[in-house]
């Protein structure tokens, strides 16, 4: 036991000291911050301040009314410019020249005919923003409606009282209880877990492979084998690298938590107002979700690390190992491509199957769990299958490892591998 501990400590300390670890640990949170900023800037493109001029050609107070209504959203700043008959061409020319610059996003041409036809024209630099146009359309609808009702003698007071904006809140139900998660935040969490598990399991699995190949190519393994049992070395290595993974995930998790908690500060630096930042839905990670995530990370990592270690033990060089790893990587990567289905339909049959198959479960189950309620017996079955597969794979991998690390020369064929496993 003590010897395993010695191997774990070496593996952990040496890995943590590498440039690769330090850079990726710092880069992770930076990328997370960048992701948050960019996604909020993109999604909330319409919530930035907008300056719009209403070119009022109406003879009535319709232009004034429209201007008032358009000023309702907090970030919208709408001015009215009265233009007489015939002056339109000159005014629009000069406005067009400054749109996109000098604090003007666009202008809206309002005529009396619009009340009849419902047709208005907006020219601006933000017409590609779906959110902007949606808001504009909605507000103009309201303006025209009021004007038309007014014309048939309905009291404007009554109209504005009858109108209330409709906003739909989505609430996620899980385990027979409502949560305060919204649809977006559920999706975001599942998506984040998918990416994180995919990257972490593959990354650290490959680290184990690299470490085994290093010992073999430098021939250190021969000295180690004289004092350590192959299984002690393998177990120590896998646990040590896994500890590095947990350590890094912990740092990333903490940094992510801080970024999300203090996103107002971050976003303010990018010119987004604090209130907007708070309004963006962000996932709420419960304790159970965190435990599920870590459990599946560890089980999945152990499963693939054992396979990668066996692959490395069969190879004579890093280049050979990279070739030999392909089947294992495929086993991991190909189902991951189908994971989007799990993400979209967390209760579908593909999702259920994937979360039970040991080789796909490490990613599929946490993604399902984040996306929808998972029956407890399915969770238990998934973990049981995964642990059983882990034991079987480790048993085989350890035997291949034990023979392979002292073998140099031709890479073994399938037949020889079977003999290695039997010989153990």
């Amino acid at each position: 036991m003590h010897k395993i501990w010695v191997v774990i400590r070496r593996e952990f300390l040496e890995k943590v000291r590498t440039k690769w670890f330090i850079i990726s640990t710092v880069l992770g949170p930076l990328m997370m911050a960048g992701f948050v900023v960019i996604s909020i800037l993109v999604a909330g493109g319409g919530v930035a301040t907008r300056v719009i001029t209403v070119v009022d050609m109406s003879g009535s107070d319709f232009g004034e009314q429209v201007t008032r209504i358009l000023n309702a959203p907090e970030q919208w700043n709408v001015r009215r410019l009265r233009v007489g008959e015939g002056g339109l061409g000159r005014v629009t020319d000069s406005l067009t020249a400054v749109v996109g610059r000098e604090d003007l996003d666009g202008y809206l041409i309002v005529t009396d005919e619009a009340v009849e036809t419902g047709q208005l024209e907006y020219r601006g630099s933000n017409v590609s923003s779906l959110t902007d146009m949606e808001v504009l359309q909605r507000l103009l609808q309201q303006g025209v409606l009021i004007a038309r009702l007014d014309r048939v003698g309905v009291d404007p007071q009554l109209v504005s009282e009858a109108q209330i904006p409709v906003r739909m809140r989505t609430v996620n139900i899980r385990d027979g209880r409502e949560t305060d998660e919204s649809a977006e935040s559920v999706f975001l969490l599942a998506y984040a877990m998918w990416i994180a598990l995919y990257v972490a399991i593959l990354l650290y699995g490959l680290q184990v492979m690299g470490s085994v190949v290093e010992e073999k190519t430098t021939r250190v393994v021969e000295v180690l084998m004289s004092s350590l049992k192959p299984f002690q070395l393998l177990a120590g290595k896998v646990i040590g690298v896994g500890a590095v993974g947990l350590f890094q995930l912990l740092i990333w998790g903490l940094a992510g938590w801080v970024i999300i908690m203090r996103r107002d500060v971050l976003l303010e630096a990018f010119g987004v107002e604090a209130t907007t930042a708070q309004a963006i839905p962000l996932p709420d990670v419960s304790m159970a979700t965190a435990i599920i995530f870590l459990t599946y990370f560890l089980l999945g990592y152990f499963l693939y690390a054992a396979m990668f270690a066996a692959v490395a033990a069969m190879s004579n060089s890093e280049a050979e190992a990279r070739q030999a790893q392909t089947p294992v990587v495929m086993l991991f990567v190909i189902p991951s491509m189908l994971m989007f289905t799990v993400l979209q339909q967390p209760t579908g049959s593909i999702a259920v199957a994937f979360s039970l198959i040991p080789f796909t479960a490490p990613i599929a189950m946490p993604v399902r769990w984040a996306g929808a309620a998972v029956p407890l017996y399915e969770l238990a079955a998934s973990i049981a299958f995964l642990v059983a597969a882990l034991c079987a794979v480790t048993w085989v991998a350890a035997r291949i490892y034990r023979v392979g690390i002292l073998m140099y020369g031709k890479r073994p064929g399938l037949k020889e591998l079977v003999r290695w496993v039997r010989a153990g």
Binding site: H2, K3, V6, V7, R10, L13, E14, T18, E214, E215, T218, R219, V220, V221, E222, V223, L224, M225, S226, S227, L228, K229, L406, M407, Y408, G409, K410, E416, R419
Partner: protein, 320 residues
């Protein structure tokens, strides 16, 4: 003798796919001895040593160390092992590496650190303790490897081809240190295919070829039994004319002739003086004439035959 053997190998056999690397080999290394395991490349020396270290398990037979039934791995704290294939973690710092390798053998961290520093100082590497291994020169790396085999003060040193790959300065250094440890009571088992070195160092030897033991015993005994009467003749002129003398089967049983230098094994009852007379009579100018013990090299060639120097084809390279 049997009870006092530090390494006691009893009838071990190891087969690999397609060939037998070691066949029913027995040998015993007495306590405090410097013991040479000799044989040509591919004879099974490394396989034997790996079985002694419990890195591979024999198909038949058993290995006992220090008279106990524990394996080499369990006793690794008492054994210093230098494998034929040398290697260190390239990215580790020298001191960390030495401490790790000692800890893996079961030595406590504190002691490992202390002993590593002592040895680094002794071999003039203390300035390099915090450097990474790949920043060291090849010769320094060899020293580090050497330190790693003996920093924990083992009772038994097992060195597989210790003189191959090391530069002459380090080879000399290692010889001095090993002999010093041997004098202090450490048992040393080493393998080599270079007989001259074995001859200078060993108290006892075991010669193997093609996985089987050819002979073993104390060096003096081996020489006596396999000696016969040996004569060394060196001539300056007329080397061609003495050939006839060396070919005289009534006088010379075997000749190892290099032209101006020859080692002769005389037939039983032949008189060395007669050889000298015949050589002089042939008109050669003699620069050296010596009645000698046979060299280990000669015994080895006699017993094993020159063809044993070539390993058999079936995949020996991977396992030998």
């Amino acid at each position: 003798m049997q009870n006092d053997a530090v390494v006691d190998v009893r009838g071990v056999t190891k087969r690999f796919a397609g060939h037998t690397a070691v066949r029913e080999l027995s040998l015993a290394v007495p306590r405090g001895a410097v013991y040479g395991l000799l044989g040509p490349n591919g004879a099974g020396k490394t396989t034997t040593i790996r079985m002694i270290m419990d890195i591979i398990v024999p198909d038949e037979g058993s290995v006992h160390l220090f008279g106990s039934s524990k394996t080499g791995r369990d006793l690794s704290e008492r054994i210093g092992y230098l494998p034929e294939e040398r290697g260190l973690y390239r990215k580790m710092r020298v001191l960390d590496l030495l401490v790790f390798l000692a800890e893996a053998k079961g030595v406590g961290r504190k002691r490992a650190k202390h002993d590593a520093q002592t040895w680094l100082e002794r071999l003039g590497l203390s300035d390099w303790a915090q450097r990474k291994v790949d920043q060291l020169s090849k010769g320094m790396q060899q020293k580090v490897q050497f330190i790693s085999t003996l920093l924990h003060g083992p009772d038994l040193l097992i060195l597989d081809e210790p003189f191959s790959g090391f530069d002459p300065v380090n080879t000399q250094l290692m010889k001095d240190v090993v002999l010093e440890l041997a004098r202090a009571g450490t048992t040393v088992l080493f393998s080599t295919h270079i007989m001259e070195q074995a001859e200078k160092l060993c108290d006892a030897v075991c010669i193997i070829a093609r996985g089987e033991k050819v002979l073993d015993g104390r060096l003096a005994e081996v020489k006596r039994t396999h000696g016969g009467q040996h004569v060394i003749v060196a001539v300056e002129q007329g080397a061609a004319s003495v050939d006839n003398v060396f070919r005289d089967a009534s006088l010379v049983a075997k000749a190892d002739n290099y032209g101006q230098y020859a080692e002769l094994e005389l037939t039983e009852g032949a008189d060395p003086q007669q050889v000298l007379e015949r050589v002089l009579a042939a008109g050669a100018r003699v620069t050296r004439f010596e009645i000698a013990e046979p060299t280990l090299h000669k015994i080895f060639i006699d017993l094993v035959g020159p063809e044993a120097g070539t390993a058999r084809a079936e995949g020996d390279d991977a396992h030998a």
